[in-house]
């Protein structure tokens, strides 16, 4: 069990989102920074869609009543365990009685994800329409349909058997106050003046403080419509940039309305979702147009970053040579994700500083 000693600015239970109910007007909801959310779960041996906490700006203070594996990912809100700074993006082992707290944002993102081996469960944490995500305006999902409060207790589910922890995400993302978001034009870029497209891609926009889980509101040069801002209400997507009559873009996020009646000039690519979710109010952003093909390749690269943690929740096998981790590949030169004594011989490459040497490994049971 864990106790929420202090809830922080806005701490909610989220998962990867509610799928299949947008046709009923139910927003997608879910973790804004899905990459960091998934990563937090994989680092604690959970299925990647296990409910986790999303903390914004000033994170919660949490007391653990059992020894537990946890992980913190996403924006750096300065986490400490019993007063000692801890790393993001790796499995942490906390002891019974330990207290996790956050001293505040550092300029590296605004949303942290906290997962625990086994996930957060209990009577109050229920799946509504196939998701544990909290939808605050509708008052459903997550912990009783609301944000966590001081004094809440959360139960912990059954952790993966024999989970040994010690996972680290290599090359984790970092976030700043001057970001470039890559976009694909459309769906309604044709309803803007050519100058508006030029303005969007050559200007700097400021993230305003009245941004929330529904949308990120920007301030900057006006984007001019050809014939007014309205369209017949149509569908929306995460990252789509709508432009109301005042010409100031709003990037729609997880809790956005499922339909909207404003023209949409462009859409932020999926691979930049984390950057978008971690934008700091007051920070600046620029937009760069990319092709569909490039967007998909960038997304694939990002998935590969996670895939090191994906299979069985384990990192590829590696050995330490003079303290340096060296990856092991199997006989098809694929990263070895587990030991199969019968069928595979393993090999790796070590260097003596001048030359690489391939060595074969014999693994004893």
């Amino acid at each position: 069990m864990i106790e929420i000693l202090k809830a922080g600015t806005l701490t909610t239970i989220q998962d990867a989102g509610r799928s299949g109910y947008q046709e009923l007007g139910v927003p997608e909801t879910g973790a804004l920074d899905k990459f960091s959310f998934r990563c937090a779960n994989l680092l604690t041996g959970n299925h990647e869609n296990t409910p986790a906490m999303e903390a914004v700006l000033f994170g919660p203070e949490i007391k653990f009543s059992d020894d537990s594996f946890i992980a913190i990912t996403g924006g750096d809100l300065s986490p400490t365990v019993d007063g000692t700074e801890v790393n993001l993006w790796e499995t942490l082992l906390v002891s019974a009685g330990s207290i996790l707290s956050f001293s505040g944002p550092t300029g590296n993102g605004i949303r942290s994800y906290v997962s625990i081996a086994g996930g957060f469960v209990g009577d109050k944490i229920r799946s509504v329409m196939g998701s544990y995500s909290t939808y605050l305006p509708g008052g459903f999902g997550g912990y009783g349909g609301r944000a966590l409060k001081d004094g809440d207790f959360l139960n912990i589910g059954i952790a993966k058997e024999n989970f040994a922890g010690e996972l680290v995400l290599e090359n984790p993302p970092s976030f700043g106050d001057d970001e470039t978001l890559r976009i694909i034009l459309g769906p309604q870029d044709g309803m803007f003046t050519p100058a508006a497209i030029q303005t969007l891609t050559s200007s700097s926009y400021e993230v305003t403080p009245n941004s929330d889980r529904m949308g990120c509101r920007l301030d900057g040069p006006m984007l001019e419509h050809l014939e007014g801002p309205d369209v017949i209400s149509d569908g929306t997507a995460f990252g789509v940039i709508q432009v109301p009559g005042d010409g100031k873009p709003i990037i729609l996020l997880s809790d956005r309305g499922t339909t909207g009646g404003y023209t949409k000039i462009a859409t932020v690519i999926s691979a930049d979702r984390s950057k978008l979710a971690q934008l700091i109010p007051g920070g600046n952003i620029n937009f760069e147009v990319v092709s569909q093909g490039k967007a998909v390749n960038l997304l694939r690269d990002q998935e590969e970053l996670l895939s090191s943690l994906l299979i069985d929740g384990r990192v590829p096998l590696n050995i330490k040579v003079n303290g340096v981790r060296v990856d092991i590949v199997d006989d098809e030169d694929q990263p070895a994700m587990g030991i199969n004594v019968k069928h595979v011989t393993y090999k790796t490459v070590v260097s003596d500083g001048h030359k690489d040497h391939q060595i074969e490994l014999e693994i004893a049971e």
Binding site: Y21, L24, I184, I232, D234, G235, V296, E303
Partner: protein, 245 residues
């Protein structure tokens, strides 16, 4: 007004790398919306890999997909190939849902003003509003809010100049050419003419919404507060079943 309705071929508009908007026409009409609904039914039975969800609106729909499984170009090609398909999918299972409604007084605060604006008696407004079967073009704005078209032009009224801060749950309202039901209490600027005791949307039900896109709604006048209370009680404890034609 453009008389052409359904597009001969679909109009594709990318919404990033993981969503595709497919435009079936450029106006609000039953014909275009039925093309939207029918295409969605046909696409759903194809069981294409990587399709996450399809969201219909008035004249277009958005397909959310995984671009690592199904490419954008592959998806547009497949949809274009199906566009000519005229057969109505067996999956299309639309129904007319009867929504009991208590019109006027405390339940429809603007009924008198609608009557005055339209030069019709209150009874005539109720009669006109409750005789039409309204197509559910889409649900949006808030969970379970149905966008209904087909309001008789005799009772078209502008929105309120000042929207209400809170419109009670179940309020039946009109605005311009539209009518709808507020499934949950929310701010709103439509004119309230009645209220239904039926819980239109409940996130905890297995079918959260009483109506789906493509269904029809007909409002059935309730004669007394006692009947309203009785239905309200039953709907609240889950024992009321709406009548379906």
């Amino acid at each position: 007004m453009d008389e052409t309705t359904v597009n001969i071929s679909p109009d594709f508009a990318p919404m990033g790398d993981s969503a595709l908007m497919v435009v079936a026409g450029n106006n609000i009409s039953v014909e275009v919306n039925q093309k939207v609904q029918n295409m969605i039914s046909i696409i759903k039975v194809q069981d294409w890999p990587g399709i996450k969800e399809i969201v219909p609106t008035y004249s277009s729909f958005v397909i959310h997909f995984d671009p690592l499984i199904f490419s954008f170009d592959g998806l547009t090609e497949c949809i274009a190939d199906l566009w000519e398909c005229k057969e109505v999918s067996e999956d299309t299972n639309t129904k007319t849902v009867l929504i009991p409604t208590l019109y006027g007084s405390d339940y429809g605060l603007d009924l008198e003003s609608v009557s005055a604006l339209t030069n019709l008696s209150v009874e005539e407004v109720i009669g006109i509003h409750s005789e039409t079967e309204y197509l559910v073009y889409a649900l949006g704005f808030s969970p379970g809010f149905p966008y209904l078209g087909g309001l008789d032009s005799r009772i078209h009224c502008p929105r309120l100049e000042t929207p209400r801060i809170s419109v009670p749950k179940g309020s039946v309202a009109i605005a311009d050419y539209q009518t709808g039901v507020y499934p949950v209490s929310s701010p709103g600027g439509w004119r309230l003419i009645g209220q239904t005791p039926v819980t239109m949307f409940d996130p905890n039900r297995s079918h959260p919404s009483i109506v789906n896109p493509g269904d029809y709604i007909r409002f059935v006048p309730i004669s007394s507060e006692a009947e309203y209370e009785e239905i309200f009680e039953m709907s609240s404890n889950g024992t009321y079943e709406v009548q379906v034609l």
